[in-house]
């Protein structure tokens, strides 16, 4: 029997208003204590938690509401998760949907790109299979990755496969003769994946024409400027006698440091970007600076000495240096082409620069490859101090330049004869590589000591940490994974700026002297008058002709 009030059984306060029941002493103790117990329990449930501001009562009510709304199967098993979700939902505002959409985007974009890789591969593969099963320039990236994996180097299988497909896409777009996965360079924001490529002959002429046009344009400008200068020579402030050191011309595409063309992309699936050919000035400057790559090709490289170019050029220069220093092959794999009497021409040609595969190559066994470094040779030309692979005398003037010099009145002093630089010839064994301090330049290891029959010989470079090479039977390859910097045990010290140049040669008429004071001037005047007086006395004693001569003047 309830009270008259509107109190329902589940509301607090039930059981408090029961007038008239106090007389039933025999019935009251049980319900009353039970009421009390219920009240206590409820008060406890309603107590707010100190840390999160919720109370258990509301939480349970919410949970039960949710369960009844959603009616999940096996609710009792997932009750804890439901509880957590409800708690979480308390704090999420209505911006939920927006946030979720935003988060999904980057993952989906990347997945779409990867899918594009797969799709195109399939589409083209069907057509090509029918036409030709010739040698494709596509390297077998997976096979190389397997060998490197034996040594513990390399990317994950997923990434290797994506790179494989991306290379295939590259080949289908550009006319490429040989292609190789060169490696990966890490950067601050993004990484670079690099492919080394050689074009078919004749494909690169377009670019050289463009460059020549630009150079001629500049020379034309130079001549116009000189004519103007001739007219105004007398009024000019003193010309600086500073002549910048002559620009060393870059090597032709296809030879020397520019033998290969490099394409980069940030991730497989993104379009490949071609790197510009490298100039000797860039290589020389890259040797002096040490900067991280950011991952964006158009980023400026801020350094001292100022690097001529942006990050794309710096990347290309580092790739050239790394290739020249660490691309190696087992001895005998490459041999020189048939001699045609070029050996007699010494002087400016650095040496032979072509090689071809040796069809009679006999692979050495793995233990031999590991034990001595003389079983490996460099097959890329090393870069000289000048920044080129083939030395060129920068002071040999072409005909046009000599004509210009005749026009000028002043000729600069002939600088001293520059010594010809000779680098180690191609195909020198690694034992000739000098180490750094007392560390040998390369560390050789077999990939596993447990199964020597199938071990692979692995070489790590100590001068360029991150460069690896493997050889197993007839297969070998080089690869680079790293930050793109040379190893130096000493700290990097940037070059100091050159001393401030003198504006003008200091001579007696240009040096400052303090103005003579009044006393000094008077003393000087008095001294001069005395000298004049004594000089006039002398002249009077001389012949008259001198006076006449002076009068005529």
């Amino acid at each position: 029997e309830r009270g008259h009030g509107p109190y329902q059984p589940h509301e607090p306060g039930y059981g408090l208003y029961q007038p008239g029941y106090s007389s039933y002493d025999d019935q009251m103790p049980d319900p009353k204590s039970r009421m009390l117990a219920i009240q206590n329990a409820k008060a406890y449930l309603l107590k707010s938690s100190t840390t999160s501001g919720l109370n258990l009562y509301d939480h349970l009510a919410n949970m039960l509401t949710k369960i009844l709304d959603e009616q999940p199967t096996n609710a009792v098993d997932i009750i804890e998760n439901i509880s957590k979700d409800v708690k979480w939902a308390q704090f999420q505002k209505k911006m939920d949907t927006l946030r979720d959409e935003h988060e999904i985007l980057p993952t989906f974009e990347a997945a779409e790109k990867c899918k594009a890789l797969f799709l195109k591969a399939n589409g083209e593969g069907d057509e090509e299979l029918e036409e030709e099963i010739e040698e494709t320039p596509l390297p077998n990236v997976m096979e190389t990755a397997f060998y490197f994996e034996q040594a513990g180097i390399g990317l994950s299988k997923d990434e290797s496969y994506h790179i494989f497909l991306a290379l295939k896409k590259l080949i289908s777009v550009q006319p490429i003769q040989t292609c190789r996965f060169w490696g990966k360079i890490l950067g601050l924001e993004m990484n670079y994946i690099i492919a080394e490529v050689q074009y078919h002959e004749g494909e690169e002429e377009e670019e050289t024409e463009e460059e020549e046009v630009i150079e001629e344009g500049r020379k034309g400008m130079g001549e116009v400027e000189e004519e103007d200068e001739d007219k105004e020579k007398e009024d000019q402030p003193p010309k600086s006698t500073y002549k910048p050191p002559p620009v060393i011309p870059k090597e032709e595409n296809g030879t020397g440091a520019n033998k290969y063309v490099y394409f980069v992309c940030n991730e497989p699936g993104k379009p490949w970007v071609k790197l510009p050919p490298v100039t000797p000035a860039q290589i020389v400057c890259a040797r002096k600076i040490k900067k991280f790559f950011t991952g964006r090709l158009d980023a400026p490289v801020v350094s001292f000495p100022p690097f001529p170019g942006n990050e794309a050029n710096y990347l290309r220069a580092q790739i050239a240096r790394i290739s020249a220093g660490t691309q190696i092959s087992p001895i005998g794999f490459y041999q020189f082409a048939e001699e045609e009497g070029d050996e007699e021409e010494e002087g400016e040609e650095g040496g032979r620069d072509t090689y071809e595969e040796n069809p009679d190559f006999q692979p050495l066994s793995v233990p031999e490859m590991v034990d001595s470094l003389s079983t490996w040779v460099h097959h890329v030309q090393s870069i000289l101090e000048q920044g080129r692979c083939v030395w060129i005398n920068p002071f040999q003037k072409s005909e046009e330049e000599e004509e210009e010099e005749d026009e000028e009145e002043e000729k600069a002093e002939e600088p001293d004869e520059v010594q010809q630089e000779i680098g180690p010839p191609l195909l020198t064994p690694l034992s000739a590589d000098e180490g750094i301090q007392n560390i040998p330049a390369w560390t050789a290891q077999p990939s596993t000591n447990l199964i020597p029959q199938y071990a692979v010989a692995i070489l790590q470079s100590n001068r360029w940490p991150g460069a690896y090479a493997f050889a197993s039977g007839k297969k070998f390859d080089n690869i680079y994974f790293g930050w793109g910097h040379k190893y130096s045990p000493e700290n990097h010290t940037p070059a100091l700026p050159p001393p401030v140049q003198a504006e003008y040669p200091s001579g007696p008429d240009v040096t400052e002297t303090s103005d003579p004071t009044l006393e000094e001037e008077l003393a000087f005047k008095a001294a001069r008058e005395e000298a004049l007086a004594s000089a006039e006395e002398e002249e009077d004693e001389e012949d008259v002709e001198d006076d006449e001569e002076e009068d005529d003047d």
């Binding site: 946030r99 988060e103 980057p106 993952t107 989906f108 974009e109 990347a110 997945a111 997923d158 890490l186 950067g187 601050l188 924001e189 993004m190 990484n191 600076i289 040490k290 900067k291 991280f292 301090q437 560390i439 040998p440 560390t443 290891q445 000591n449 790590q460 100590n462 940490p465 930050w483 910097h485 190893y487 045990p489 000493e490 700290n491 990097h492 940037p494």
Partner: protein, 248 residues
Amino acid sequence: LGASLLLLQRDYRFERVRFWGCIQGVRGAYYIAEGLGPDRAAPRSRLYSLNCVEWSLLPPVTEEMVAQAEQLKGRFQGDPSFEYEYTEINAEDAERLFEDGKEPMIKEEARLVATIEQIDRAVGIVPRGAFVKTPLGSVHENRNFEGLSLMEAKKLSSYFHFTEPVNLKNKTLLEKADLDPSTDFLDSLEHDIPQGSWTVQPEKGGTVVVLRSLLWLGLTFYHVPMTKQYGYVYFGTGEKNFDLPFML
């Protein structure tokens, strides 16, 4: 490697054993593992191996070892009993040392220990919320840690150094009000000097976030957002990158 680490756990009675990484020496590489006791912030015991099968315990590190090792430059040799000579001390230091009766030689083992400690101290990181501190002061893994969200994972402030906090008290009161003392008891990465000595890269479209340290080249930390997976590993030559200010 997996098998030998499990055996280690049994023999040394660690609660967890982690593969810490690999330091490349000139002639060989050291593989390092560390074992953790119940309190995660306690000094860890470290073991090294040359072939991943036999492990030897490294002596605990002392400040002296760290000071000595900082003076050494160059690669590790790969031989734990190799002894270094001081090559760069002045005449004064040499005299001082000789007076004390010590020899200026360091064993490579000591250098190894000191280097590992330095690396851990400088760049050992964990995501925010992964560890909780109990009121008693001991540190435990947080079982409710579900991982950082993608947005949080891209920010440097979501990661902490797993060492004694240095900068925590310098934060303004406003910032401290936002922190949750049970999870935010460590230094965050935001204030590392020099600025920008970490690179954060989401890979594969954001399924994995990779942090790399530029101060110790070779330290890589990974985390899969929204899961409990994270960890760091060091593969490198064990040398600090002193040229960092020039390279940024």
